[in-house]
């Protein structure tokens, strides 16, 4: 690993200055992803600016009746928070299904959103990868890409975003609060992560000098009976093949509202808007759930190794909605 220096800013302002003033500076959360990538020679910062000691580790009520989660809140603390568990169970479940206890103790909310893809070719400095080195080609397209995207991929990149937490946030219509020396802004979580298109080197719409300060969750009664379902290759400690964050409102056997986001399928957490529109006003039957899922996945494209994920996504969505219906929604 390259020699680096390490800075502990005393305030958010100091952090925002450091990221601009110190050449090669990068924010450090729990380090569970960044340090890994530094060991592999994939990330090569000169200075790490530790954000975990900034006043960003609180979970507080918002005036609008939602929650504001500081960017430095540890994943473990987020999942254990009573308000989160009661009002947004999907979020606690998503976090607990990610990584391992040890990693979650270190990992922060900001770092989780900004973790990089687990694409095997991205992780291997000897391989071609447009995300690491734009224009070098994509080793995964014709290589091992079983964990790859089936929605919204491009010929330049078929990687998926690995975060579980972000999938739940997308379903919940969260917003990401960011700050830079020029001010603050709020980014709807759906616009935070990108599709690869021609520029797979960009994971998100965050600028290099911007610090994630918090994530805010809107008040959403429906979220109290939300669920996260993660399908993976072993019982724990594995990234999603397909995951589903969902909430469902059924009135007299008819879907009044469905909210679904998918993980493990695209370069960003995938909000299933086609599905949501399809289901609104339809009978809450297994057949309609499956039809809605199929409508969402109609645009999916698989490779020989990812093909199975299309049907797997349909089945997982259907099963998750079925379960939510059978448990009785929040309404």
């Amino acid at each position: 690993m390259k020699p680096i220096s390490y800075a502990v800013p005393a305030s958010i302002d100091e952090a925002l200055a450091a990221i601009v003033d110190l050449p090669g500076a990068k924010f450090l959360g729990g380090g569970t992803n960044l340090v890994d990538l530094m060991r592999e020679g994939i990330e090569t910062p000169e200075v790490l600016v530790d954000v975990t000691r900034l006043p960003l580790a609180e979970i507080t009520e918002t005036p609008a009746g939602g929650l504001r989660i500081g960017a430095a809140v540890r994943n473990t603390d987020l999942a254990a928070n009573l308000a989160v568990r009661q009002r947004y169970p999907v979020l606690a479940q998503a976090v607990l299904m990610g990584a391992s206890g040890q990693i979650r103790n270190m990992a922060t909310v900001g770092g989780n959103l900004l973790q990089r893809t687990r694409c095997l070719y991205f992780y291997d400095a000897a391989a071609a990868c447009n995300k690491r080195d734009l224009g070098s080609g994509c080793g995964a397209v014709a290589g091992h890409n079983r964990m790859g995207a089936i929605l919204g991929a491009s010929e330049h990149c078929v990687a998926v975003h690995p975060s579980d937490l972000a999938v739940a946030l997308v379903m919940l219509d969260a917003e990401v609060e960011v700050a830079s020396r020029t001010g603050t802004r709020r980014i709807p979580i759906q616009d935070f992560h990108r599709l690869p298109g021609e520029s797979p080197h960009l994971d998100t719409t965050l600028a290099a000098d911007e610090l994630v300060t918090a994530v805010t969750l809107p008040a959403e009664p429906l979220a109290a009976s939300s669920r996260y379902r993660k399908v993976r290759d072993r019982a724990s400690y594995a990234f999603a093949l397909v995951s589903v964050a969902a909430a469902l409102e059924v009135t007299n056997g008819t879907v009044s509202q469905a909210r679904v986001a998918l993980g493990g399928v695209a370069h960003k957490p995938w909000r299933a808007t086609t599905l949501e529109q399809y289901l609104a006003g339809r009978p809450a039957t297994d057949e309609e759930f499956a039809a809605a899922a199929r409508a969402e996945l109609a645009q999916a494209v698989g490779t020989p190794s990812t093909e199975f994920k299309i049907e797997l996504a349909v089945r997982t969505i259907t099963a998750t909605l079925r379960r939510l219906r059978d448990e009785g929604g929040a309404a």
Partner: protein
Amino acid sequence: MTLAPERTARPSAPPEADAGPGRTGPAIGRAVDRVDGLAKTTGTARFSAEYPIPGLTHAVLVHAPIARGRIRSIDVAQAEAHPGVVLVLTHLNAPRLTPPPTRMNPMDLSTMAAGSSIAFLNTDEVHVDGQPVAAVVAETLESAQYAASLVRVDYETITPTADFEAELPTAKAVRSMPVLPPTGGKRGDARAAYTKAPVQVDLSFTTPQHNHNALEPHATTAVWDGKKLTVYEGCQNIDWTQKFLAKRFDVPASDVHVVSKYVGGGFGGKSKVWAATLITCMAAQVAQRPVRLALTREGVYRTVGGRTPTRQRVAIGASRTGQMEALIHQATSRKGRVGGEADQIISCSLDLYDAATILAEQKIVELDLMTNTAMRAPGEAQGSFAVESAVDELAIELGLDPVELRLLNQPVDKSPVHGTRYSHRRLAQALEQGRDLFGWADRPAPGTRDGKDLVGWGVAAAIHPAWEFVANVQLTVDATGSATLACAFHEMGMGTATVVGQMVADCLGVPLERVSALYGDSDLPMGPGAGGSGQTASLAASIEKACQAMRKRLDALASKSGMPDGSDPAEVLTRAGEQSLTVEVGADTGPKAMWGQVRFLSKMVMDSRRWMKAATGAHYCEVRVDADTGELRIRRWLSVFDVGRVVNPKTTHSQLRGGIVMGLGMAMGEETLIDTRTARIMNPSLAEYHVPVHADVPHLDVHTLDDPDPQMPLGILGAGEVGIVGVGAAVANAIRHATGRRVTDLPLTLDRIVG
């Protein structure tokens, strides 16, 4: 249909109060705590990367990112200039070693240890991806790590051949060699019999490459003192390692001291000498400083061999009542262009069933990949998946219970192919006892549903041949009555040091707490390798001999003092005025060692012509398959084994359980992904190479028949490997029962289960 109630888990090896001081009586058979337990749990046990050596330096390898080619130029200037760097070793400045052997010769033990035929750092050629092309030695690990990234290498590349499936047509036949495990066998005309058989099953299977992931990555600390070399190395064969290093560095074997006290798991991956060990010794020689090199996890994947992938066909023809008329097992594996051997993939088909005709044969392809090497039950692990899946399919085809079918076809007293007699054969008992304990009679109907899950029960049989190797030992009894057994055997966590004490205590008739063992050091009498599940049995043979000889000498002394035979050794020695008494079994230097090896090999050949000796077992399991997604969970596991005499239920059951866990890894997730375009391993990490996590492994209920094998030393058959055999098939058979799908490719991932 109601499901069998969950059985209350019963500890297979009840924790027994450990021997109190002065306790006498049989030590063999007692669930004694391991003698190294405290040192390991408190962190005081020293592994090979943990010896505090004054002036120690740290080495880091530079791996080639190409699989075939030549180094055009190598620029080490920046690396050398980095603060703290002591040496950058490349093929340009490394000492010239005696070239590595190109094939194994059991008469020359130094050849057995060669991990490959690559002349590391003595050539500009690159033969496998990840081949070390330089090593950076520095005062600190961090400095070495960074400097290693500064070494610039320019390669001329050649496109490698690495696609196992695509190269199958180039496969060459493998010939069975005496002494080595079987890779073929024949009884009658199986092809003809198969064609005529009224019931036929013909399936083909694949298993992927697997790689070693012992808890302790390979690590070496090398110290030269003039022309004498001391190597701290966690290894499975001190003897081979010593002789190999001596040969390569052209020094007498007696000048190479190998210290291998604790080994953090081996599983076959530490039987050979790999690149890093050699390079550490080279670096220490050039730097004239002690050097330590601990491989990264990725380094283990890239420089240590793994388990060969296989493609297999099993065809079974049977009568309508279930008698096997023909059993055909054909397998292809791969080796590296630079070395490796055929695993004995078909070996279990030679002895599991008494088919009227049998045909077993193997082929092998050569690829531009790292050599394959032994990995727990090499061959049987992959082969049993195929044959035990096919047998299950045959049972379904016949409408017979799969346990019944297996019992129906058990050989009576002779090995069907070789006609050798079974020293004792308890597979039927293992199957029957497992059936009763598991409650097999309550097996649900195929495709039974429990909520969102499909429920399936599976069974598979296991067999693993028993091996014995040379073990030279030295036994000393002193005037306080303490007995010490000295032998360069290996303690990789299996409990060898513990069971050695138990065996000596009983054979000599002294209390267990008076016995200790010295091991893991080439200064001690040469021990057996820790492989083939043969270490304990090999030691038992020599311990028995040594103890007999010791008793004789003690009795002779005793009679001089007018004491009866069998008197307390402390008293005998004290009265005779002797400080201590030592006996030796075997001699391991000069021509004597050579003769020992010749005698041993001829005994082994003779023995293998007379007796077929093997550990056997039966696995029973219940799985749940999510009907929507195909997610697999193992809910219940029970195995019954015949491993001959159980010296220590605690350590034996732990070995068997470990084998099953590793089998579950093979079954459910392990797969080395090789990009066939570049011949490069793409998942060299525990994040992406899926070994089972705790949540994947249910309570494993393990039972042993504890029935000594009359032809093995102390009746011991060995327990290290039989546990993994058949596990994949038991799971696949349970999936078949739950879902109706026969998955023939490992790992049994959900996409394959859903189909």
